[in-house]
């Protein structure tokens, strides 16, 4: 399966929509929409709304996340925003500020 990789030090200013797995190592500002998965790598800076079935964050994220499957905040992540997903994991060491909505 081809992957879209936004490499280290790359900056995207705008909208990204994808049906491929998306790996962000650089910076994305704007909006991210995926039909597959989004991974915000450690070192990445994302200032965007993310909507994707699966979202995994190891880097910095400012923006809301809407996932239909799950959201995972790894121990190295810094996240400010609201999370909405049926399954949400926040690892020990992750820093997070925002609302969590698991649709319970």
């Amino acid at each position: 399966m081809p992957k879209t990789i936004i490499g280290k030090s790359f900056i995207i200013d705008g909208e990204v929509s994808s049906s491929d797995p998306l790996v962000i190592e650089g910076t994305v500002k704007g909006m991210i929409q995926s039909d597959d998965s989004v991974m915000v790598d450690s070192g990445a800076i994302v200032e965007a709304e993310i909507s994707s079935p699966e979202v995994e964050v190891s880097g910095r994220l400012i923006g809301n996340v809407l996932a239909t499957s799950k959201v995972e905040l790894k121990d190295s992540s810094h996240v400010v925003g609201n999370l909405k997903a049926p399954s949400i994991l926040i690892a020990d060491g992750a820093s997070f500020k925002g609302n969590v909505d698991m649709d319970a």
Binding site: P2, I5, G7, F10, I11, I12, E15
Partner: protein
Amino acid sequence: MMKQGCKIARGTAVRGNVTGPGNLVLDGQVVGTIALGGDLHIAKRGTLLGNSQGNEMQIDGVVEGNAVAHNSITLGRHARVQGKLKAKSVILNPGAQFSGEIEMDVILPEELLETLNDKEDSNA
């Protein structure tokens, strides 16, 4: 694998600007500008609507817009390009479709410049 690479796969569309120090492979779609410190490869199914800038460019896909390369721009046999190309050298391979303007670094031989100047003088 390229160092500090960026790849936009086939099912991915970007609307906005892409900037980076390294290389980019575009197999998806970009509507906006691309500015790179490295090389740009627009693959066979890649589409760019907008201007691009990079060190070296290999275009095998569709481009509408102006491309400026520090080194060379190569249009492969599947390329369909409309716009202006500016580079040290521009290579159009058989099969490439191109409509627009090409600007390369041209250094005319000095003798030719002299004869041209003489002609202008005698015309004056």
